[in-house]
């Protein structure tokens, strides 16, 4: 089984600990994981802001960088959703416009091989107990793309519930958007902050010292607000929790 890590541009640049955690975790589960260095970004920021044509070279790059791997695993729900939901759409649009006909085939080719991390663990590897140890109360924020585009369902919670020492604290209004939305946060700062404030308030009221999610972009926004409020709650990517063990406890700074 040839497995490639799609670390995503945000994790690569700002959250390398998350990428390292995925590598640690998958190795522990006996999966040898590769990092094709030709990868960069799935093109989601371009696509979602209306620059569809600018996302096309990045889609081509993605398909080429990950050619030959059985599975492509990413610790980002929104990037997995970009590939699964929007690549086929981009392919269809390009074909309808009478150009880039091969984009549609590229999309068909990468979609079934692309997995968000928790899907890969639960659906492909068939595990929910990954042998992790994380002795803290944790609240889980299900991100919009994980929830509504990927339909991750309770996969993340099932994984978390098997982590030794971890107490999963329910979050009020969990299914509501945190207000990040990529360039939305910059184009509509007032509404984005208002949504983020409400989300941060719900998180603080859980009393849990840690909030986790399957997407660092959302955590960056939520963490940025919690930080500005001086709250002690720490955003941690789910992969870093699952990678922690008694021998190698969680230590990544955020």
């Amino acid at each position: 089984m040839r497995v490639a890590l799609f670390v995503t541009c945000v994790n690569d640049t700002l959250y390398p600990d998350t990428g390292r955690a995925v590598v640690t975790l998958l190795r522990r589960l006996g999966v040898e994981v590769d990092f094709p260095a030709a990868q960069t970004c799935c093109g989601q920021p371009q696509f979602n802001t209306g620059y569809r044509r600018q996302a096309e070279p990045l889609m081509r790059r993605y398909a080429r960088a990950f050619a030959g791997y059985d599975h492509i695993v990413t610790p980002s729900g929104s990037c997995a959703a970009m590939v699964r939901d929007n690549y086929p759409r981009m392919g269809r649009r390009a074909r309808a416009e009478g150009r880039g006909g091969h984009l549609a085939e590229l999309a068909e080719e990468v979609v079934p091989r692309t997995w968000e991390l928790t899907e890969f663990l639960v659906d492909v590897l068939g595990v929910t107990d990954v042998g992790a140890y994380f002795p803290y109360p944790v609240t889980y924020h299900p991100t919009c793309h994980g929830l509504r585009l990927l339909r991750l369902g309770d996969r993340p919670q099932r994984l978390l519930s098997q982590v030794r020492g971890l107490e999963l604290v329910p979050l009020t209004g969990a299914e509501e958007c945190c207000g990040f939305g990529g360039t939305f946060a910059v184009k509509n700062p007032a509404v984005s902050s208002a949504m983020g404030d409400d989300k941060a308030g719900h998180i603080r009221r859980t009393g849990a010292p840690v909030v986790c999610a399957v997407d660092n972009s959302c955590l960056m926004h939520i963490g940025g607000i919690l930080g500005r409020q001086g709250a002690g709650t720490r955003p941690v990517h789910l992969a870093e929790i699952l990678a922690a063990t008694e021998e190698q406890p969680y230590g990544g700074p955020r």
Binding site: D12, T49, G50, Q54, A190, G224
Partner: protein, 493 residues
């Protein structure tokens, strides 16, 4: 008298900067939408075949839209055969003119109104007032908006942004100017407020000889119009006056009564979380001794056939105006309906308004961006309109321009003003991301200078750092860490 319009309103980000700070508005909206959300979920969960019903609702609308010309002609023929008259209005100005002339011809100076999105869309009340005709809204929430010299902020509950105390205040101070005043010592109990409105409206129902309505559906096979409502005031307007004028968007046609059955299940559960609408009224032409003597149907295009010509955007014409997407929208809940500057607020407004009005103004060009693309609207939509897909499609039209149909002619739209810098930045980002070596150099530079990074940014980034801390750039990117640990693997291509 209510004369406000949406003309000249600020862009969505500007309007929402003010509205998000209005704590009363946020509280009123948050409370109302949370309540209805929970109820809708329960009402929908009762039906085991909801997904199939939803798919059928989408399919029937799509099929009808594909053959819209045929069904509209059939409708016109049946309405005419039943004693009604059909008028075609290509745009808002034509529709206003047709209705005004029809009212003038009756010699009346007052009309009753059944809550109608189409007449809001064309700005009918203002046009009638300019022609010396008073239009009285009869829907309770619409009455509150009219008396308060306000604009509607929700499709179904136009006064959702008002609480009981505010409504009591509006009734006490304004009812007298419009007709029967509010009773002395009016309290803010809902039943008391409803009773005051009932008495105020009753005298109008008994007096009026002309009514103007919209319709939720038009059944082509019999030429029948359908209105569903909760209060029964609409039914009064549809039956008591001598002349009835219905202004309806052309997309509201359904082929048969059997098709209607789908929507009469989808609509109430999605909008008011009820199994069935309290009042469902249907009217077909005229009948001697029963209901209006004269019936006019004004079929409104106003950008709808242009929308139909757009392969991605046309799905928006499936909308049955249930307002479920508003009630689940986190952006609508914080910004409020007025920020959308249109009778159609919320997610549906963000995709419908720029298609009906174009993206020429700063406000209309900002609407497709008024969403975090969280997808909640798509999930609840009873006719499965992929609102996020259309939002992104319209964003492309704003930032890059492209082909579109305007007044029946295929044209190439130019990008909206003010996106040149963003476009350049996106192109640069794509170039960088298509060159991993350059990306790596950029990452290294950022890592080396990490101690110098400011905590607050100038320019567009200021919007981020006004309320949020920036993440710290790590000492080493993942890419570099990987390479340091596995020098033998991986090459940039």
């Amino acid at each position: 008298m209510s004369g406000r319009t949406h003309l000249g309103m600020p862009s969505f980000p500007d309007a929402s900067r003010t509205s998000t700070r209005n704590t009363t508005l946020r509280a009123n909206l948050g409370h109302a939408t949370r309540t209805i959300r929970g109820k809708r979920d329960r009402a929908v969960a009762e039906l085991a075949d909801w997904d199939r019903l939803r798919a059928a609702g989408a399919a029937v609308k799509d099929r009808t839209l594909r053959h819209l010309d045929h069904y509209l002609e059939q409708l016109e023929e049946r309405v005419t055969a039943a004693g009604g008259r059909v008028h075609w209005a290509p745009d808002a100005a034509a529709a206003r003119r047709i209705v005004t002339d029809l009212v003038r011809a009756t010699g009346e100076r007052e009309v009753l109104k059944v809550k109608s999105m189409a007449t809001q869309e064309i700005g009918l009340n203002t046009a009638l007032r300019q022609a010396g005709i008073a239009a009285y809204e009869t829907d309770l929430a619409e009455l509150i908006v009219q008396l308060g010299d306000d604009l509607p902020s929700h499709i179904l509950v136009p006064a959702i942004h008002r609480n009981r105390a505010e409504i009591r205040e509006i009734f006490t101070t304004r009812m007298g100017d419009w007709g029967r005043p509010a009773p002395e010592g009016l309290g803010d109990d809902p039943a008391e407020l409803a009773e005051a409105a009932r008495r105020h409206l009753r005298e109008k129902f008994l007096r009026a000889r002309v009514a103007v309505s919209g319709a939720n559906f038009m059944v082509a096979e019999t030429g029948t119009l359908v209105v569903v409502e909760s209060e029964g005031n609409g039914r009064m307007c549809l039956t008591l006056p001598e002349t009835l004028i219905s202004v309806v968007g052309i997309e509201k046609v359904v082929p048969t009564w059997q098709d209607l059955e789908i929507y009469l299940q989808l609509l109430p559960r999605s909008s008011t979380a009820e199994r069935m609408n309290p009042y469902t009224s249907t009217w077909t032409g005229t009948t001697d001794g029963d209901g209006p003597r004269e019936f006019h149907l004004v079929l409104l295009d106003n950008g709808r056939t242009d929308t139909l010509a757009d392969t991605v955007g046309r799905q928006v014409l499936r909308c049955i105006r249930c307002s479920a997407c508003l009630n689940v929208c986190p952006v609508y809940e914080r910004a409020g309906g007025h920020a959308y500057g249109s009778p159609y607020p919320g997610p549906i407004g963000a995709v419908l308004t720029p298609q009906l009005r174009g993206t020429g103004t700063a406000l209309d060009a900002s609407l497709p961006f008024a969403s975090s693309l969280c997808g909640a609207c798509y999930d609840v939509c009873p006719v499965a309109i992929d609102i996020p897909e259309v939002l992104v499609h319209l964003r492309e039209r704003v930032v890059e321009g492209g082909p579109a149909t305007v007044r029946g002619t295929r044209t190439t739209i130019r990008p909206a003003a003010g996106h040149a810098a963003e476009r350049a930045a996106m192109r640069a980002a794509t170039w960088l991301l298509d060159h991993p070596g350059a990306l790596r150099s950029g990452q290294r530079l950022a890592a080396r200078t990490r101690r110098l990074h400011p905590r607050r940014l100038p320019g567009p980034g200021a919007a981020w750092t006004a309320t949020r801390d920036l993440p710290r750039v790590p000492a080493e990117s993942f890419r570099d860490w990987w390479r340091r640990n596995r020098p033998e693997e991986g090459t940039d291509r």
